[in-house]
Amino acid sequence: MIWLWGAILFWLAAWALNARLAAGPAARHPAVRLAIPALFGVTLLVLWEGIVRGLQVSPVILPAPTEIGATIAASLPILWGDFVQTIVKGALSGYVIGCSAAVATAIAIDRSPFLQRGLLPVGNFIAALPIVGTAPILVMWFGFDWQSKAAVVVVMVFFPVLVNTVAGLAASERMQRDLMATWSASYWQTLWKLRLPAAMPFIFNGLKIATTLALIGAIVAEFFGSPTRGMGFRISTAVGQLALPLVWAEIAVAALAGSAFYGLVAAIERGMTFWHPSQRGRP
């Protein structure tokens, strides 16, 4: 019980500290803005540990963070192998193929407002469908290995990126295009020098959404069938064996991979769209 009370005390103290920090003059400081959610996260972990130990929760239901940490340390080779199979081979390759295909398609239909008017509603519709349901079909066509997972990812990321890219290409103002006309610029000059740079914020919005979709697609597709490795495979079999610490370990790796992937794309976005008001921190 002492664990439980200790955890609750910690929680109250951290909450008070966070409230003080948030209301105080230091709230604008970047270090403080990082400390507050970090403290919140640590508090959750402490509470978790306290509740599990204090109430003697069975590890089959909810393992303690320390036990999960130990499992991670002990299973690094498995975690790494799964990571390579699912994220590097499945998600990443599908992401690259799907996003490039989407951008290329957007440019290809750029000159046909008719096709755009037709493809966009259909694309929005397909983007709302449970695409992970296509996993069994794609496994049938491409086999059990990472290729079918990459195929699922391609289908999942294609339409959101397409819709965003088309919106981005439409974003340059009429005045800018008129200016290009006064210089007798060709279609390709206008596309390359004006419309694509102006579309970058939209394209990156789509690319960021696509990172999460890629990860989800690759992992969930493995629930439908996979060789004996992969994060989705590991999660579903470990769940079947009630080896929950390993499941949580895989999830921790997935969370890390997801945030890192997203962070990477966001960093590239900052580099390429440094000029956009949202990146400059409005004055």
């Binding site: 008129d178 006309a181 006064t182 210089w183 020098k193 440094f274």
Partner: protein, 266 residues
Amino acid sequence: MRDTGAPGEPVIEAKDLGLTFDTNDGPVHALTGVTLRIEKGDFVSFIGPSGCGKTTFLRCVAALEHPTSGTLTVNGMSPDAARQRRAYGYVFQAAGLYPWRTIAGNVKLPLEIMGFSRAEQEERVRNVLELVDLDGFGKKYPWQLSGGMQQRASIARALAFDADILLMDEPFGALDEIVRDRLNEELLKLWARTGKTIGFVTHSIPEAVYLSTKIVVMSPRPGRITDVIDSPLPRARPLDIRDSAEFIAVAHRVREGLRAGHGYDE
């Protein structure tokens, strides 16, 4: 090379020009019966209320719109042909600089499109930035500059490729009056130095009278010319000419023209 037509020929000539838009609410007569001659070296202002066709006329000259009746020649040829020969530079009300390019990069943009060599691009950018008093700002980004400076960069961009004609659509409309006065002065100096033919659309009567050798007063519904005033003011004008009796007389005539065209009705 630039074709400017034979000397004595007008740079821009419109004969009975008309443009009617078909809209859901019926036809809109943006321009009717516009007949006008603009000679080389003229500074022509177009003034009138919204819907009088002044911007539409400028856009027709720039081949951004196409008239539905009458004729229009620029440098003795059709506006489309003149546009392909890069006969004019256009300045919009918003500076419209690309935020992902530096000022120098922005001024270079038309030069890249038109295929000038790298060395020529650099030289032209240098010259033209100096002309608008922005030398030293080449490496800055547009958002680092004030509104007035951005507009000057936009003018520099329009001058970079040596077009003989400069078409400006309310370029100073978004700026405050103090900056506006200064830019008016600078524009006149620029005009004196370069000898370009300038078409200038404005809402401001003092600006039109101060800048122009010829003022075209227009009125709406249908868009037409109400009066063409050849300015008696001398070419070289200090700012305080705006207090002189001649200036006030011309401004008065402009105002009369606007009233006659029901420009003050709503």
